[in-house]
């Protein structure tokens, strides 16, 4: 009989090793899934994880995509991780991402076709504001009315999606677009575009913002009293209250930061890689970022690595779709599986597994 024994404090070794173990297990289970779909599992895994980076034929296109895809994932996940650490569950990042993009693109399009240096910075501010205000709704409802922030933030995603389709069919529609839904293409409007900064790297302002967020979050959590409060509130809420941590302030702060970062991610995406507001310009980064945050163990450096890995599965997934005819949904299921395995093997860092004798088990 197996018995679990709680460790006095989480094992440092397993904390680092569990994400790697989870990835390996996901590759095995994913391989089985690909085999069930009638594909060669080894070829599929190689196409997803190896070819985008090292295959001479594809790497020149795929490598820059790594940063393009990882940027928004990291940016959103850093924000989410702060809340998750404090036990504040903002799972509506997808909605905040959409609103950030709408606010930012709205500001940019309002100036069209003027050319001023301040247009793009203003859009960045508007994007962060859009995400922030969307996250403030669940935050204020939580602090004022004790409403569950998980449900409200998630329901706000559906509202944001309807708002997005209304905007791309109405107010923000390209007047010269021949009646097609979707806004003007921001990447063709230099004052409002977020171009690739160094050719062939995929580096754009969103990626720089993501790196800055990683550094800022690292300093906040390691060196600042606020980071200590966040960690304390998550691990020992009562102790936190005795220590004078204001729970209301923490909810507003964590939700606000995660909303603003998600909004920024949306703005950088819509003005750069996506180019325009359209009904379905969002591709679920807000939800995948939840996986990234957990895969990175809610640690800024971990999130950086996890974001790059997750970006790889997106790119590799597209490649596998193209090369092997692997359905796009298979990658989504694959990413979901990763979170399952991660949660499952997390047991190893908090508990010791012992073989109990019958007498002990009683």
């Amino acid at each position: 009989m197996l018995r679990l024994e709680k460790r006095p404090s989480p094992s440092r070794f397993w904390q680092g090793a569990t994400p790697v173990l989870a990835v390996v297990l996901t590759m095995i289970a994913g391989g089985l899934m690909f085999a069930a779909l009638g594909k060669n599992p080894f070829e599929a895994i190689r196409t997803i994880f190896w070819d985008p980076l090292f295959n001479a034929q594809f790497a020149s296109y795929s490598r820059p995509q790594l940063l393009v895809k990882a940027g928004p994932l990291i940016l959103i996940a850093i924000g989410l991780s702060l809340g998750f650490r404090a036990g504040i569950w903002n799972i509506g990042a997808e909605g905040q991402y959409i609103m950030g993009a709408l606010f930012g693109a709205g500001v940019g399009l309002a100036f069209y076709p003027a050319d001023h240096w301040f247009i793009f910075p203003l859009m960045v501010v508007a994007g962060a504001f859009g995400g922030w205000i969307w996250a403030m709704i669940p935050a204020v409802l939580k602090t004022k009315f004790n409403t569950n922030e998980i449900l409200v933030s998630l329901l706000m995603v559906y509202i944001a999606q309807n708002f997005l389709s209304s905007m791309s069919l109405g107010l923000l529609r390209n007047p010269e677009g021949g009646g097609f839904p979707g806004s003007r293409n921001l990447s063709q409007y230099p004052a409002a575009s977020n171009p690739e900064l160094i050719a062939g790297t995929g580096l754009h302002w969103g990626v720089i913002a993501a790196f800055m967020a990683v550094i800022a979050a690292y300093i906040l959590l390691q060196r600042h009293i606020l980071g200590f409060h966040i960690k304390l509130a998550g691990q020992a809420p009562r102790a936190a209250r005795y220590a004078g941590v204001n729970p209301t302030g923490l909810v507003v702060l964590c939700m606000g930061i995660s909303g603003a970062l998600a909004g920024l991610a949306g703005l950088f995406e819509v003005s750069g890689p996506a180019g325009q507001i359209s009904i379905d310009f969002n591709v679920g980064y807000g939800f995948t970022a939840i996986i990234v945050a957990f895969l990175g163990r809610l640690n800024p450096i971990g999130i950086l690595l996890a974001g790059l890995l997750m970006a790889l599965t997106y790119i590799g997934g597209e490649l596998a779709q193209f090369m092997l005819g692997l359905p796009a949904a298979a990658i989504q299921a694959f990413q979901g599986m990763l979170l399952f395995f991660l949660l499952a093997v997390d047991l190893l860092s908090n508990y010791r597994i012992r073989f109990a004798t019958k007498k002990e088990a009683l």
């Binding site: 569950w89 949904a329 979901g336």
Partner: protein
């Protein structure tokens, strides 16, 4: 504005529209009464939707489809149960994982079933009863799942209130340590509750893909699982109030669809977001003030149980 809408038709339509939410909410209500917070309702529903759809199309039988839907939902719940009850994973995160995984897997499974019509689920023949004006339309014109959903509310209410099983279930949800000390198998009871919740969510999902829509498209449940979760809070963990909440929600979604069809002057997108807005509003009202819903929440809700001895 409402001139063209027949009240009998509206009521019977809202009864049909709220079936998936009732089923999923009743399942989740039992799970939460046992002290487990499963946020994966959306994932279980959509897996139920796709499994039910596939089984019914392949077998040609709607009843078998619903069985398949329930099994699909329960299979997802099993993953959640193993993660949270045996591997002691965080319940919030595991529920989210269930939803993310379910959305991906369902669209993978449903790919070759897009554009097919499932076998019809006919109305229960009540004979002359169905011809009674108004009441015939409202009460005696539905398929069997509508009656099943109402029966499940009654059965759950009775089970929780009047049976020993209900008492044990509530004891486990209020204080798992005390229930454990009394010799109840906390893990086993919770696993059964989780599986029941999954089967009910799967049934609700199958109703969406087989009756409500009826066809398969990606993301077909469009947040119904999250609304079911909100209904449980609205209901303050009481079955009959869940029915009221689901009918309220069903009424709003039917009304907004009718307004869309009638060409109301409100843009379609704003009508489509109204059910979500109303759900949030209701959550706010229920969570604040005198009728604080949180006071009724099972005391051990969302806490993992680990028997140290």
């Amino acid at each position: 504005m409402f001139g063209g809408i027949d009240p009998a038709l509206l009521i019977s339509a809202l009864m049909v529209a709220s079936v998936p939410i009732i089923l999923a909410a009743i399942g989740e209500l039992v799970v939460e009464r046992a002290g487990v917070l499963n946020l994966g309702v959306e994932g279980m529903m959509i897996m139920g939707a796709v499994c039910g759809f596939i089984v019914s199309v392949q077998s040609g039988s709607a009843v078998l489809g619903f069985v398949g839907g329930a099994l699909g939902g329960a299979a997802m719940a099993l993953i959640f149960g193993v993660l949270t009850q045996f591997l002691l994973a965080n319940q919030v995160a595991s529920g989210l994982a269930l939803t993310l995984f379910g959305l991906g897997l369902s669209s993978l499974m449903g790919q070759s079933f897009v554009g097919i019509r499932p076998p019809a689920t006919g109305a229960v023949p009540f004979g002359p009863l169905a011809d009674i004006p108004f009441f015939g339309r409202v009460l005696f014109s539905h398929d069997w799942v509508v009656y099943l959903s109402i029966a499940s509310v009654a059965a759950t209410w009775w089970m929780l209130k009047a049976t020993r099983t209900g008492l044990i279930l509530r004891a486990v949800g209020e204080s798992h340590d005390a229930a454990h000390a009394l010799g109840y198998k906390v893990r086993r009871i919770r696993m059964l509750a989780i599986l029941f919740g999954g089967a009910m969510a799967g049934l609700g999902g199958a109703y969406i893909s087989m009756v409500r829509v009826p066809q398969w498209t990606d993301g077909i449940t469009s947040g119904a699982g999250w609304i079911a979760l909100a209904i449980v809070v609205f209901a303050a963990w009481r079955p009959w109030r869940a029915l009221v909440g689901a009918y309220l929600f069903g009424g709003i979604s039917v009304l907004q669809l009718n307004l869309q069809a009638a060409g109301a002057r409100i843009p379609v997108e704003y009508l489509s977001m109204s059910p979500y807005l109303i759900t949030i509003l209701v959550l706010v009202i229920m969570s604040s003030g005198k009728g604080k819903a949180a006071l009724n929440a099972p005391a051990s809700l969302g806490q993992n149980f680990h028997a140290s001895r």
